[in-house]
C-alpha cells in the first residue's frame, strides 16, 4: 500500500478502498471478541486433543528401548490441543475474517478511522495501534504481576536452607514459571505498550504498516499466558527458562506448556518486529530524517531487527523439542545420536540477542526521558545511536559465553571473551550520552526522571558485573551461581523494568489521558529503588560464596543473606502494590485529566491532542527539526502539524516518491 501523501479532504477515503462498515453493527454478542475467542479456543483444544489421541500410537514405557522409555502418549494430545486451541482462539476473535472477506471480494474495514468507542474495543481484535498499545500495557502488567507472585514463592522457600514449604518439584515448577513468564513478558514489555502506541506517533504517521499483524501479535500473548500457567496443573516443568535438553526431553507433559507458550510468544515477537521495521522505514513523515528520529524509535528499530532475526531460532529449537517429546525424534538425545549441545547452542543463539532485546528498549526510554527533564538537547545523539547499533550487532557474537565451562569449543573461549567485553564499549556510549546530557542541565526531579536515573544506577552495576562474567577464569567461579542471578536481575529488572515504570509515568498521561499521582509515584520509586537493590545486591555475594542457581537447599552459613534478600523481596512487592494502588486510583477513581503536553516536551507524540484522535494527525505533519532541541534559540517546533496543502506532496515529490 502506498504512503498517503495528500492531506485534507482525500483522507476520508479509506485506505483499503471501497465503502466502510455497513450502517448498523450487529449486537455485541454476535461480534467477534474475547467471548467468541474463548469458545473457539475450547472447541479447538477438544478437537486437537481428540486428534492427538487418535494419532499417537500406544507406546509402552519401560523396557530396554531408550526411545520407548522416553515416550509417553500424553504429549501428542496436549501439543495438538494447544495448537488447535490457539488457532480456534484466533478464529473466534475474528483474526481470519478479513482474510475471508478478501477472498470473497468483500470490502475491508477502514483502518485509520476505527469508529468504535468505549471499552468494548479493548476486548476485540482491533486495527488501531493505540488500542493495541493499551491492550499490551494491561496484558504485560498481568504477566509481570503473575511472575512476581511466583518470585515471592521462590523467596519464601529460600528463607530456610533445610525446612521446606514446597516440595522440590513444586519449587522447580515455581522457578520455571517465574523465569519463563518474566522472560516472555520482558521481551514485549516496552515494545508492546509503548512501541506499538508511539511508533507511528513519534514518526508522524497515521498508522502502522501491518495493523493486522500487530493485533495478532498481541492476541497471541493471552494464549501464551494461559498455556504457560496451565503448566501448573500438569506439575510444571523442571528446567527453568533455559529448557536444557535432555532434561526437557525426560520431563513430564508440563514441559510442553513451556515450549508452546514460549513459541507463541516468539511468533508474537517476530510479528511485532516486522511491523515496526517496515513502519519506520516506510511511514516516516516528510522531514523525519534518520538523523531526527527520537532515541526511542532507534531502540525499537534495533530491537525489532534482533527479534526478527533471533527469535526464529528459538521457535525452531522449541519445535525440535516438541518433536523430540511428542513424536519421538532425537535431536537432543545423545544416546540416540542427537546432541545435548545442540539445544544449548540453538537456545543461546537466540538467548543472547534476547537479553539485548531486553536492554535496548530501556536505553531508548531513558534517553527519551532525560532531555525533557534536563531541558537540554541529548548529548552526542549520534554516539547514542551508534551505541544501540553496536550493542545490537555485537550481541550476535557472544552466545558461547553461556557455555564457557560446558566443554564445547574450548579454544574459542578467548574470542567470546573478547566479543563479550567489547559490548561494554557501545554500552558505555549510552552512559556518555547520559553524562553529557546532565552536564550543566536544569534537572527536574519528576517521577519519570527518577526512574530514568534509577535505571542508569542499576544498569551500571549489572553491566560491570557482566564484565566479571565475561572473563573466563572469574566466570569459572561465578558461572551458573547466584552471581549470575544478581547480574541479570540488575540489567533486566533494574534496567528494563525501571525504564518501563519511567515510561508508564511519562507516557500514561498521553495514553490514558489521566495524570498519575505524583506523591504516590515518588513513594513507589523510592521503595522500589531501595528494596530492589537490597534484594539483588546480596545475590552477588551469595553466588561468590558458592550458591548455585535454582537450588532449594543451600549451605547453612548463607541463610542470613538469603533471609535478608527474601524480606527485601517482600518489601519490593509492597512497592509494586503502591504502584498498583496509584495506577488504579488515578485511572479509575480520581481521573484527573492530563494536559496534552504535561512535561512541556518537544516530541511529536506530545503535539497531538489528548486523547489521541483515531487518525493520530489530522494532516500528515512536516517535521522541521530534531526532537531534543531544548534551549536552542530560534529552534523551530518539531513539526508543522497543519502544513499548507500540497507541501507534503511536494516533499515526497522532491524525494522522488510517487505522490
Amino acid at each position: 500500500m502506498a504512503i498517503e501523501t495528500t492531506p485534507g479532504a482525500d483522507q476520508t477515503q479509506p485506505a483499503g478502498g471501497g465503502p466502510t462498515e455497513p450502517g448498523r453493527p450487529r449486537p455485541w454478542w454476535m461480534r467477534p471478541a474475547v467471548h467468541t475467542g474463548l469458545i473457539g479456543a475450547v472447541i479447538g483444544y477438544l478437537f486437537g486433543h481428540w486428534m492427538g489421541n487418535a494419532l499417537s500410537p500406544d507406546f509402552s514405557p519401560g523396557g530396554s528401548n531408550y526411545a520407548a522409555a522416553l515416550a509417553n502418549n500424553f504429549d501428542m494430545p496436549l501439543v495438538l490441543g494447544y495448537v488447535f486451541g490457539t488457532v480456534g482462539w484466533l478464529a473466534g476473535l475474528g483474526v481470519f475474517n478479513d482474510l475471508g472477506r478478501l477472498m470473497l471480494g468483500k470490502p475491508l474495514p477502514d483502518i485509520e478511522h476505527a469508529p468504535e468507542g468505549g471499552l468494548a474495543k479493548y476486548f476485540r481484535y482491533t486495527l488501531d495501534h493505540k488500542v493495541v498499545g493499551i491492550q499490551y500495557l494491561f496484558g504485560m502488567i498481568v504477566y509481570f504481576l503473575t511472575g512476581g507472585l511466583f518470585a515471592m514463592a521462590i523467596r519464601t522457600e529460600l528463607l530456610n536452607p533445610t525446612n521446606h514449604i514446597m516440595s522440590s518439584s513444586s519449587y522447580l515448577m515455581v522457578v520455571g514459571e517465574h523465569s519463563t513468564m518474566m522472560m516472555m513478558m520482558m521481551s514485549s514489555v516496552v515494545l508492546g505498550p509503548f512501541g506499538q502506541y508511539f511508533a507511528p506517533l513519534m514518526i508522524g504517521s497515521k498508522r502502522m504498516a501491518f495493523p493486522r499483524l500487530e493485533a495478532l501479535g498481541f492476541w497471541l500473548t493471552p494464549p501464551a499466558y494461559v498455556i504457560l500457567v496451565s503448566g501448573v496443573l500438569l506439575g510444571g516443568f523442571p528446567t527453568g527458562w533455559t529448557g536444557y535438553a535432555p532434561l526437557s526431553i525426560q520431563s513430564t507433559p508440563g514441559m510442553d506448556t513451556y515450549a508452546m507458550a514460549f513459541g507463541l510468544m516468539g511468533i508474537s515477537m517476530i510479528l511485532a518486529g516486522f511491523n515496526i521495521i517496515v513502519t519506520y522505514i516506510n511511514y516516516r513523515a516528510p522531514g523525519m530524517r534518520w538523523s531526527r528520529l527520537p532515541m526511542f524509535v532507534w531502540s525499537m528499530f534495533t530491537v525489532s531487527f534482533l527479534q526478527v532475526l533471533s527469535v526464529p531460532v528459538l521457535v525452531a529449537g522449541l519445535y525440535m523439542m516438541l518433536m523430540d517429546r511428542a513424536w519421538q525424534t532425537a535431536f537432543f538425545v545423545n544416546q540416540l545420536g542427537g546432541s545435548s549441545y545442540l539445544w544449548q547452542n540453538v537456545f543461546w543463539f537466540f538467548g543472547h540477542p534476547e537479553v539485548y532485546i531486553l536492554a535496548l528498549p530501556g536505553f531508548g526510554v531513558v534517553a527519551e526521558i532525560l532531555p525533557v527533564f534536563c531541558r537540554k538537547p541529548l548529548f552526542a545523539y549520534k554516539v547514542g545511536v551508534a551505541g544501540m547499533f553496536g550493542v545490537a550487532l555485537l550481541s550476535w557474537f557472544v552466545w558461547q559465553h553461556h557455555l564457557f565451562v560446558s566443554g564445547i569449543n574450548p579454544d574459542m573461549r578467548p574470542l567470546y571473551m573478547l566479543t563479550t567485553e567489547l559490548i561494554s564499549i557501545p554500552t558505555g556510549f549510552i552512559y556518555l550520552v547520559a553524562l553529557g546530557t546532565l552536564w550543566k542541565a536544569k534537572i527536574k526531579f519528576e517521577v519519570p526522571m527518577l526512574f530514568a536515573l534509577g535505571m542508569y544506577f542499576n544498569f551500571l552495576i549489572g553491566g560491570v558485573t557482566g564484565v566479571y562474567l565475561s572473563d573466563v577464569p572469574a566466570d569459572t567461579t561465578e558461572h551458573g551461581s547466584f552471581f549470575v542471578m544478581g547480574h541479570f536481575h540488575y540489567t533486566i529488572m533494574g534496567g528494563l523494568i525501571f525504564a518501563f515504570f519511567g515510561g508508564i509515568y511519562y507516557w500514561v498521561p498521553k495514553m490514558l489521558g489521566v495524570e498519575l499521582n505524583k506523591t504516590l509515584g515518588k513513594i513507589h520509586f523510592w521503595t522500589m529503588f531501595i528494596f530492589f537493590n537490597s534484594t539483588f545486591l546480596p545475590m552477588f555475594f551469595l553466588g561468590m560464596a558458592g550458591m548455585p542457581r535454582r537450588v532449594f537447599e543451600y549451605a547453612k552459613n548463607l541463610q542470613p543473606l538469603n533471609v535478608w534478600a527474601s524480606i527485601s523481596a517482600y518489601l519490593l512487592a509492597v512497592s509494586m502494590i503502591i504502584f498498583l494502588v496509584n495506577f488504579i486510583w488515578s485511572t479509575l477513581f480520581v481521573r484527573k485529566r492530563a494536559a496534552s503536553n504535561p512535561w512541556n516536551a518537544r516530541g511529536l507524540e506530545w503535539q497531538v491532542p489528548t486523547p489521541v484522535p483515531p487518525e493520530n494527525f489530522e494532516h500528515i505533519p512536516v517535521v522541521l527539526s530534531g526532537p531534543y532541541e531544548y534551549g536552542v534559540k530560534d529552534a523551530p517546533p518539531m513539526a508543522d502539524l497543519n502544513p499548507p496543502v500540497g507541501v507534503v506532496a511536494a516533499a515526497y515529490a522532491g524525494a522522488g516518491v510517487e505522490a
Binding site: G236, N409, T477
Partner: protein, 315 residues
C-alpha cells in the same frame, strides 16, 4: 582524565565543575581501591586451595580494582550533577544547549576501549597460563599443565549424585573425593543421564557433565582442607540436594585412602562387576550388575544401575 570544560564561553565566573568532580573522584577511587586490594582481596572467593582457585581469586580482585574507579566515577558524576545542576525553584528557562563535544567523546571511547582490550589480554593470559583456569575444556584440552604425572579422577554425574572413579587405582569407585596436595589432578567429567555440572567450589573447578561427553579440567591442590562439590546445572528434582564433599590431604594419606578403597572393593566383588573404566558410559548398555551389590557399599555411579533413564519420572 581530561576534564570536560565544554561551552565555557562567556561564563567565566562559573566554577570548574570537571576539575571538582575529578578531585572528589580521584582520592575516593584510590582509597577504595587500596582497601579492596589489601583488606578485601585475601578473603575473595574461591580461596587459594588450588593454583586455579588462586588464579580466579586474582582475576576477581583485578577486575574489582578496575571497576571501582569506573563505578565511582559515574556515581560521583551523577551525585554532583543532581546536586549542582538541579533546577532552582522558579527557574523555568531551558538550559544552555550542548549537542556534543568531539574531544570528550573521543576520550571516552578511547578510554573504554583501552580498558576493555586490556581486560581481554589479561583474561586470555589468565586462562591459558594456568591450564584452562579450572574450567571444563572438552574432551581434548589444548591448555594442559606441563607435567608428566597426573592424577586422573573421573567424575560421573547422574540424577542426583556424583561418584568418582580412579583409573590409576584399578578403576575404584567412591562417593567421596580425596586428593593429594601438590599433585596435578585431571578431572574427566561425564554424565549418565542429563546435563550436570561439577563445581568443586574451593578447588576452583567447574565443568559441565554431558552424557556421552568427556569434559576435562585441571587443578593443582596447594592447601590441605575440606571442599564441597555441588551440581551447578539444573538437572531435575533433587538438583538442589546434589552435593557431596571432599578433602585435600597429604600424599601419604591419599595413597592409604585409595589403596584401602581398592582392597575393600576387591574383597566385596565391586571391582569385578563394575563396567570397565571408560571416558563415557551408556547406562542403557550396562545390564550386568547384580541386585545385591548396591547394598554393600552404596555404590551408585557408573553402572547407572538404579533406574532406567526415564525413571524416576520428572519432575
Amino acid at each position: 582524565m581530561t576534564t570536560p570544560e565544554a561551552t565555557t564561553g562567556a561564563a567565566a565566573a562559573e566554577p570548574r565543575h570537571g576539575l571538582r568532580i575529578f578531585l572528589i573522584w580521584l582520592p575516593l577511587a584510590i582509597i577504595v581501591d587500596l582497601i579492596v586490594w589489601f583488606v578485601w582481596y585475601p578473603h575473595f572467593p574461591p580461596g587459594r586451595m588450588t593454583d586455579q582457585a588462586q588464579g580466579q581469586q586474582f582475576d576477581i580482585a583485578v577486575m574489582t580494582v578496575l571497576s571501582v574507579p569506573v563505578l565511582l566515577f559515574i556515581w560521583v558524576y551523577f551525585a554532583y550533577a543532581l546536586i549542582v545542576w538541579r533546577r532552582r525553584p522558579g527557574d523555568e528557562e531551558d538550559a544552555t544547549p550542548i549537542h556534543g563535544n568531539t574531544r570528550i567523546q573521543a576520550t571516552w571511547i578511547t578510554t573504554t576501549a583501552v580498558i576493555v582490550l586490556g581486560l581481554f589480554v589479561f583474561g586470555t593470559v589468565q586462562l591459558i597460563v594456568p591450564a584452562g583456569a579450572g574450567a571444563g575444556e572438552g574432551p581434548s584440552p589444548i591448555w594442559k599443565p606441563h607435567v608428566n604425572q597426573l592424577l586422573k579422577v573421573q567424575v560421573i554425574g547422574q540424577q542426583w549424585a556424583f561418584t568418582y572413579r580412579f583409573p590409576q587405582f584399578g578403576g575404584i569407585e567412591t562417593t567421596h573425593l580425596e586428593l593429594p596436595i601438590g599433585e596435578e589432578v585431571q578431572f574427566n567429567v561425564t554424565s549418565l543421564d542429563v546435563i550436570h555440572s561439577f563445581w568443586a567450589y574451593q578447588l576452583g573447578v567447574k565443568a559441565d557433565a554431558n552424557p556421552g561427553v568427556n569434559n576435562v579440567a585441571f587443578a593443582k591442590p596447594q592447601q590441605i582442607g575440606d571442599f564441597t562439590v555441588r551440581c551447578n546445572e539444573l538437572c531435575g528434582l533433587w538438583h538442589g540436594a546434589m552435593f557431596n564433599t571432599g578433602k585435600v590431604v597429604s600424599p601419604v594419606s591419599f595413597m592409604a585412602w585409595a589403596n584401602g578403597i581398592r582392597d575393600r572393593e576387591t574383597r566385596a566383588g565391586v571391582l569385578i562387576t563394575l563396567p570397565a573404566y571408560s571416558l563415557t558410559y551408556d547406562p542403557t548398555q550396562i545390564t550386568s550388575l547384580g541386585n545385591t551389590l548396591k547394598k554393600v557399599l552404596g555404590i551408585t555411579g557408573s553402572p547407572g544401575y538404579y533406574y532406567s533413564p526415564a525413571n524416576p519420572v520428572q519432575p
